[in-house]
């Protein structure tokens, strides 16, 4: 945790960073409030279901890309496995903690964006939105498991640096596809001419 905090520049004016994050999260809660109030309790139409399904797939792809990136960093580039495996710590504990760290990293950003929907949903009495937490946890663990598996095999073929580049390209392409999807949703909403 200390390394992560200092790595993101947290030791320099931490209050400024925390305030910025808090403001952003508050804004996301506001957006969630507006969205859930507009949606209300009415059932989701089929085109929207398809779009949500696609969004879930693309979100998972982004999580997988992040998991591969983090796996390369934690397994091959961080370089502290000699110290950890050379210590009297049980190796399985080391691997488990690393895998969980990969899962947390891969789900963190998605959770930051989507968790407000769950919080506001609960506030509005729509308990089904709590399923987001369970779904994100499951997807995060799956992304971590697949990410570590892909990383080990990808690094064997192309090396650690190219494995990271591959993961970053996949993440960028997925991000672009998500932008295109948002335009499709706008087209679905606009009335026919």
């Amino acid at each position: 945790m200390r390394l992560f905090w200092r790595g993101i520049g947290g030791s320099r004016k931490p209050w400024l960073m925390l305030m910025g994050v808090a403001l952003m999260w508050a804004a996301l809660h506001g957006f969630a409030w507006t969205l859930l109030n507009a949606l209300g309790d009415r059932p989701v139409s089929e085109p929207w279901m398809v779009l949500l399904g696609l969004a879930t797939c693309l979100t998972f792809t982004m999580m997988l890309s992040s998991a591969v990136n983090q796996s390369v960093r934690m397994i091959f580039e961080r370089g502290d496995l000699d110290l950890l495996f050379g210590s009297p710590l049980p190796p399985l504990r080391v691997i488990t903690v690393r895998a969980l760290a990969v899962a947390v990293h891969s789900v963190a950003l998605v959770w930051f964006v989507l968790a407000p929907l769950a919080h506001v949903g609960v506030w509005l009495g729509q308990m089904r939105w709590l399923g987001l937490y369970v779904g994100l946890a499951a997807l995060g663990l799956l992304a971590a498991a697949l990410g570590i598996f892909i990383t080990i095999n990808l690094v064997k073929i192309v090396g650690s640096r190219r494995a990271r580049v591959t993961a970053q390209i996949v993440g960028a392409v997925t991000g672009a596809l998500m932008f295109l999807m948002s335009q499709i949703s706008a087209m679905l909403d606009s009335p026919p001419e």
Binding site: L3, D82, L83, F85, G86, P88
Partner: protein, 259 residues
């Protein structure tokens, strides 16, 4: 009847074998190192030194053979063996965003050293290695020599009985090298066994009580410098370790004459 492990030995290796993708790195290697000795493991690049010591440190699994660390079977009781030893790779990782004391406290925690004891030892080690004055700086700003000294302090924080060091003096200036040498000799006097690999043969000649030479994954010669000189008779009576090493490994070079 299975022979009882020899309690006078810090390290006993029998019939060690390890291959990587069909290439034999360690080939039926046998080695015995008594307790309280500073032992140098010498060999050319690719001879099998690093593979051997990484197996002893529990970082690689051998294909065959047995390793006993301080009487403990490494394969059967790896964690127990690791509690008593320290391994320092040739390029140790130090967390750049930590300060020296924080790093030592972290390593002490891995070896379950009591916090108060760890803090005392950490201060003693940092003062002894002239790193106490930079205790408030992040490790990322340290020179190569400072990092190596700090890594060595990390290897000593839990007071190991066996230390395995891979090229511990690489990149150190004369003063830092002297500090490290003195520290290692002090530890040996206190009963610790030190096994180190090095390409600096003068250092091995001056420090090591016993020397083993590895070639093609096997020990081809072992003993004190005097004993190695006898084995390499053609090297001469007062031959340096370098001359003995080149003679025994058959690696003596002859530059072509340009007439």
């Amino acid at each position: 009847m299975k022979p009882k492990p020899d309690d006078s030995l810090a390290l006993e290796i029998q019939g060690l074998r390890k291959s990587f993708a069909g290439r034999v790195a360690v080939d039926d290697l046998c080695l015995q190192i008594p307790k309280g000795q500073l032992h140098a493991l010498l060999g050319a690049n690719g001879a099998g030194k690093t593979t051997t010591i990484r197996i002893v440190a529990g970082l690689l699994k051998a294909d065959a053979g047995q390793v006993q660390v301080l009487g403990i079977n490494l394969a059967a009781h790896a964690l127990e063996a690791k509690r008593l030893m320290a391994f320092l790779p040739d390029e140790p990782l130090l967390y750049g965003k930590l300060k020296p004391l924080e790093y030592l406290e972290f390593v002490a925690g891995l070896w379950m050293v009591n916090a108060e004891l760890a803090a005392r030892r950490a201060e003693d080690l940092l003062r002894g290695l002239e790193l106490w004055t930079v205790n408030n700086q992040y490790i990322e700003g340290f020179s190569r020599g400072m990092r190596q000294k700090l890594a060595l302090a990390g290897a000593l924080i839990h007071d190991p009985q066996l230390m395995i060091l891979d090229e511990p003096l690489t990149g150190l200036d004369a003063r830092a090298a002297r500090q490290v040498k003195d520290l290692l000799l002090e530890r040996v006097k206190q009963g610790c066994t030190v096994v180190l690999t090095t390409h600096i043969l003068e250092m091995a000649e001056r420090l090591a009580q016993q020397i083993s030479i590895i070639q093609k994954g096997r020990i081809i010669a072992q003993g004190s410098l005097e004993q190695l000189r006898e084995q390499a008779r053609s090297a001469g009576a007062g031959a340096t370790l370098e001359e003995v090493f080149l003679e025994l490994t058959g690696l003596a070079t002859g530059w072509p004459r340009f007439d």
